[in-house]
Every structure is written in C-alpha cells, then in structure tokens.
Symmetry: C2
Subunit: 254 residues, 2 copies
C-alpha cells in the first residue's frame, strides 16, 4: 500500500484523487486545499488547509499551478520525504532540496467537466534516487498502463510538443469552427474528419499521413483559400503553415 498526500485542488489534483481512490494499491491520506476544497471527498480522506497538519506519507504529490510549485515545496514543514510535482514544464530541481525530489507527470489535458480514464494516460516519472523512482513507478502503474521514465530535459521537450499537438491543434479546430459558423454549416460536419485525422497517425506517421493543397503544391487552391479568409490572422496562419509544409516536403526554397 502506498500512502499519498495530495497538495492542491485543481483539475490535476481532482483527477489524480479520483484515480488514486479507485486503486487498491494506494491510500490517499489527506488533501491540502487552500480555501474551500473543490474536491468532494468521502471516506477517510481528510481535507486540510494548514501545512502543519500534513501527516507522514510515502509520497507528497504537489498538483498546483506551475508557478506555485517552488513556493509550496519550500513551505512543507518536513524534510527527507519524497515530494513530487505534476508539471510538464517545471524541472525537478524547482522543488526545495530539503526533501527527496521527483516528478509525476500525467500527460493529458484535464478539465473537471470531462471524465477521464487515466488508465491509458502516459505517466512520466522521474526521481533523484533509484529507490524513489521505484516507488513512483509503482504509484504510476497502479493507475496507468502507460508509464515512462522521462528526465527533466525530455519532459521539457515533451511539454513543448504537447503545446503543438494539443493547444495549437485546438486553436485550429476553433478556426474551423468559426468558418463553419460564418457559413451556416454545423461544426458537427467536421468532427468525423477531426477524429480520423487523430486516429490516422496511430498507424501512419504524420510524415506519411500529410495530404492537402500545400503538400500537393496546389497553388490555385491555396490562392482560392486565402481569398476566402476574411480575418487577417487566419490568413497569416494559413500562409505560414502552408509554407512550412512546402518547405518540409522540399517543394519550396527559402
């Protein structure tokens, strides 16, 4: 049995608490939450709002906003215990070194409105000491089939890649949705295409999956599309991504 205290009550804390609670190998002892706790907790889990009340646990999971991680780690009133954060963009050594440090980074987009099966979510773990890495790895395997050892340098790159395939991709969805709206087309018409685009790259590399006017170097269609875009920023996005695709496939010289 791995005993855990969760520090934080945002989206990540919420989903981790749910997943930890579901696992028989883990016991959540306490949740630290400033202000009224957003996490509804039954059972034995105590919600506390004073660091001094933190009990002894195998792992302290800090699930707060990136900027708050170092400050929270410093405030912990103990030492030589295993303290991890859950952030993709924060290095391990942002944690105060009075404790044994680690990272427990579930790579997924979390929102409280959407139930999420953490089972398939990649959990990236890192620790300074081999025995701590083992504990973290056990914790991760208790909630996910998809555990990876990723160091701080790799995690930085992964977090950046996630911005491209999640945040930026979602913004392209939004541009698509806006175009539909403007022409009285239900956005639902695009959803099967969106789904298939995301599924395709499981069996085909994105490199091989690329299609479209930029890839074909179909200048006539590209110009028609640019003429159709009424927002200046959307034109710029269309132009830059077209150019980047053309450069990538060697159709255009810089």
């Amino acid at each position: 049995m791995i005993n855990v205290c969760i520090i934080g009550s945002g989206n990540v804390a919420f989903h981790l608490h749910q997943a930890f609670t579901r696992s028989k190998a883990i016991e959540v002892l306490q949740i630290f939450s400033r202000g009224p706790a957003a996490i509804q907790s039954a059972d034995k889990v105590r919600i506390i709002d004073d660091y001094k009340d933190l009990t002894v646990a195998d792992i302290y999971v800090i699930a707060v906003s990136d900027d708050a991680v170092p400050g929270v780690a410093k405030l912990l009133p103990f030492q030589d215990r295993l303290v991890v954060h859950t952030s993709g963009s924060v290095p391990l050594d942002a944690l105060a070194d009075k404790n044994r440090r680690g990272v427990f980074y579930p790579l997924q987009t979390f929102s409280k409105e959407r139930a999420l099966d953490l089972n398939k979510v990649p959990v990236c773990v890192e620790a300074e000491r081999p025995e701590d890495l083992k504990t973290l790895s056990s914790l991760a395997k208790s909630i996910s089939d998809n555990v990876h050892f990723i160091d701080s340098g790799q995690r930085k790159a992964l977090h950046l890649a996630a911005v491209f395939v999640n945040n930026f991709v979602n913004h392209l969805y939004q541009i698509g949705s806006r175009l539909c709206e403007r022409h009285n087309i239900p956005f639902e018409v695009l959803q099967p295409l969106i789904k298939e685009t995301a599924q395709k790259i499981v069996s085909l590399s994105p490199e091989d999956a690329q299609t479209g006017p930029a890839r074909r170097n179909d200048q006539k269609t590209i110009e028609k599309h640019l003429a159709l875009l009424s927002e200046e920023k959307h034109k710029e996005v269309y132009q830059l991504l077209t150019e980047t695709i053309q450069l990538h496939y060697g159709r255009k010289e810089l």
Copy 2:
C-alpha cells in the same frame, strides 16, 4: 436500385466503390480507369478505359483529381444524364452543362492503406434540380447516416475549414513527432493526448476547450518554449499561433 458508374480509380473512387458495393440499394455498373485499374473488382462490375463504352446509369460519379474534373466532364459522350463530382473545392458549375449536374462530397481524409467506415462520414450533396438532389440524397443515405445539403459556396468554406482541422493539424502532429524524435521520446507518448484533444471538442466547443500557456498568457513558459525550438520555421509557427490565441481571448492588443 440506383445504378452507378464510377469514373476514376484513386483513393476516393476506391472507398466509394467499396461502400457502394456493400449497399444493397446500389449497383456499380462500371468503373472507368485510365491505365491499369487500381481497383480490384469482382462480380459484375466492368472496368473500362474508353468513355465510349460507358453504359446508361442513374448517376455518373467523377472521382478524379480536382483539376481533372472539368476535362473529364466534357469528354463524357452523352447528355441530360446526372453527372456528379466528389471534390470539396470544385464548384458545381465546373461540370459541363450538357448533363444534369451535382456534387457528392464525402468529407473525410482517404488513404488506401486505411479501411474506413463510410457510415459515419458526412456526405455533402448538391444538385441543380430537386429530383436529382433526391436521387443523390438516396445514394448518400445508402452509404452514410450523415448526409447534408451543402451548396457550392458552403462547400468552399467547408473545404477550407477541413484544411485547418486536417492538413494543418496533421502538420502540427508532425512537428510534435519531430520534437519527440530529437529527444529520444517515443511518439506514442503523445497519442493519448492527441486523441483526447480531438474527442474533447465533441462535448466542449473548441472555444471553451482551449488551454495552454498562450491562453493563460504565461509569458515565462512561452519564452522557455521558444528558446527550446531549434528550427526557425517551428519558432515562427509557435509565435504566430500563440499570438492568434492571445488576440482571440483579448489578452493582447494588435
């Protein structure tokens, strides 16, 4: 029973032939293919390579590259029959007006390597005459549960939107994949995130689903990310999409 002749033997022709063949309401009479036919055909379907051999059918489906549509339509040696193309970016009136014209546009990304259930694929139909629209609509409903009446103006916008949510999104996947490669991270780590990002917008609008440093206006993370990108074009893409998101959410003035 709707009788169909398919003209073309590319990806779209291939998948339509498969879907039509599966439907009891449709009979494919002939497939016209220049050169050796890529489509393996059993049964009664005849592969022909001379337009003069085209038999009488209810609908002639031209599934060739966008540029070739007008030329092929002109070459058909008959008139007053229902002739449709399958292209998102070609207007209805690109077809020769000696025949009754229509469009049968399945909005999906097709590759021969991937089996595809056309059942969920939106099929956008358009025709000049109400009775032809009815026939096309029956044809569409025989292979898909997702049929829409979309005129040429709307289809242009839809095709453009599809470039954003399919071609450009795939290119962002590729940038993500490249970043993984460079840091010895298996691309599989990103796939659950990619899948969830695509699924999220079925229940949440892309507007509401937006997260990330640009949305949060987290300048520190944005700068760290830019410093980490080694390719100039990827930096430009990061910057432009960040700016577009910030402008959209009113965090930045032009």
